[in-house]
Amino acid sequence: MSAEVQTKQAVLEPMPTMEEQQTTRPADGSAVLIQALKDQGVEVIFGYPGGAVLPIYDALYKDPIPHVLARHEQGAIHAAEGYARVSGKPGVVIATSGPGATNLVTGITDAMMDSLPLVVFTGQVASSVIGTDAFQEADIIGITQPITKHNYQVRDVADLPRIIKEAFHIASTGRRGPVVVDIPKNVATEVFTTPESFDVEVDLPGYQPTTNPNYLQIQKAVHALTHAKKPLILAGAGILHAQAMDELQGFVEKHRIPVTNTLLGLGSIPGDHELFLGMAGMHGTYTANMALSECDVLLNIGARFDDRLTGNLNTFATNAKVIHIDIDPAEIGKNVPTEIPIVADAKEALKALLAADMYSPETEEWINALSEKTEDFPLWYKEDDSALLPQQAIQIIHRLTKGDAIVTTDVGQHQMWTAQYYALNNPDHWVTSGGLGTMGFGFPAAIGAQFAKPDARVVAIVGDAGFQMTAQELSLLQEFRIPVKVVILNNGALGMVRQWQETFYNERYSQSLIPVQPDFVKLAEAYDIKGYRIESPAEAEAVFAEALLSDEPVLIDCRVKQQENVYPMVAPGKGLHEMIGVSGE
């Protein structure tokens, strides 16, 4: 009887049209995830499948989103970071439970330290066996709690659409950062019966980032800047995250205030701008560091006063009244006492400053004094006819790419030389591991950057040691024919470790020299990628010209002088005014 009724009803109901079929809500957790990712406009997923995420990958097979199969989860997440940094959108990563998830830990921490938006999906063993040390189980929620902006374990499939919305919202607003969503395998296969849960709005009473500056605080900042004799702007990555480059340049030019950058803030003002003093900090320019030591008003926008920037805090900007604009209130006053705190988005704060009725301070004398310093103590290196110097290599790359390439790096000597000698013209073209200083970051990040801007020229400048940590991602260049140019500044050493051992450990080179190297050209060729080797300055020009302009992926092994050091330098524990290696005399 009842079967008959059902049949009749089924007949009475019209067949769903194509349009209706497409809007039909997904049937299980995995399909919900894919649908929710599509709703968020996700263009590409970086990931690696495994047991616990098999249902998710099966759903991806049926309802595809472009997916990049890295060769190691660390490669996947650094690629996602590069994508996030260049596109401004959250990078999406999927990895399986246990080892898949724990392989992401470095990348999650890196993204946390550099405020990059990531949404990371990890598989988890089924709810029924969580806590039993099941096969491929790891407590990824516990592990990632201190290294994420927030994390979730999905307990009920009905919560999935809400959690994904919240995860993307948290990752991409306020001070950005990584969010982990852990999905037990049974949740991924659970039948989804609550299509209305897709319509839930994000409602997070405990998360209300302040984006608009306080008017009175802006007035105080204006007052301080107007009366400054030696004002200085320290522009950090917050400018880039907020897309406030035009406002910064406008403000700088309107009131003629010199600017310096943090490592991560490079590109927020054009590298050749007349009021730009170069990068500040441990390997910053002499001018920038002296400006920080001598300024009387310091306007920090979107930088967190990292210890590599400030040097010894007791001697940092001792004469300055500090104004600090940051979207994260916890950064203000954390390291440096702040007279005028302004909690706001960098763009909104700069807009308010530009709109304020402000007299320009008298700065010509100050600017001239700083220009003299730059003339007297420019960045320097001593040419050596017998060897290619890393600085020369970067200068050639800079000239050939006209400062317009997207440049990625790891951490170490090559990173500092790139920061010093590759004067960026564009924002969002600088992808480097700042806060965590992650070896192996630069190359996969370049792959992600290329996915974000397929038409851009992307150059990964890496060291020989760091490159070997994630070199397996050459497979991706091969598979997708991604035209990333890998430039290895190969000095056969962990360069910065070697430099510190030379300077602070009496030349005791404990485990920092790599006497035996693979043949990187052959390695490239093994992946069907063209490889070049450069051993002298004479070769460099021609090879770079050919390689950098090619539309194909290329690897260039630059055999550079091993003994070359990064100067100038602020020794650890010293103040910015105590720089060493300021001149080559």
Partner: protein
């Protein structure tokens, strides 16, 4: 110095871990911590006492807690007029001949006997941590067999001290 912080959180699994993990990561030493339901459904209240040597660090602690997505409100109530209570259960060695002596000594503390055995008496004492401390010191000579303290829970009094009139004249 000792600070008393109350934190209102969304009652989700892992939230206590998140808060204590944050304190550990930032090297704050927790003296005591209590958690329980609040008057609002789905919300819990934590009270913790931390020792912070550097005055500037307390602001950092409050800001870092405030940043957590599950944290609704953070209050440093150290300087406020507050009510604060801790409960302790103390099992004291009390042979019959000493029992009345101990009872009379602890009487001002309004401790209640909640269990008694042949040679032991278990007292329950409620008060601010200093009072608990004093109680323990008092019974210690008799021998404490077991001690369990809950940690302090607190909130601000409804009536806060009015600003002192002398100060407003000085203004």
């Amino acid at each position: 110095m000792r600070r008393i912080i109350t934190v209102t959180v969304i009652n989700q699994s892992g939230v206590l871990n998140r808060v204590t993990g944050l304190l550990m990561k930032r090297q704050f030493n927790i003296e005591s911590i209590t958690v329980g339901h609040s008057e609002q459904p789905g919300m819990s209240k934590m009270t913790f006492i931390v020792h912070v040597e550097d005055e500037g660090k307390i602001e950092q602690l409050v800001k870092q807690l405030q940043k957590q997505i599950d944290v609704i409100k953070v209050n440093d109530i150290t300087e406020k007029a507050i009510v604060m209570r801790e409960l302790a259960l103390v099992k004291v060695v009390a042979p019959p001949q000493a029992r009345s002596e101990i009872n009379s000594i602890v009487e001002p503390f309004r401790a209640t006997i909640i269990d008694a055995g042949k040679n032991v008496v278990t007292y329950q004492v409620v008060g601010n941590p200093e009072k608990i401390e004093a109680f323990i010191d008092l019974v210690k000579p008799y021998g404490i067999k077991e001690l369990s303290r809950t940690g302090a829970t607190a909130f601000v009094r409804d009536m806060q001290k009015a600003p002192s009139p002398q100060l407003s004249i000085l203004k």
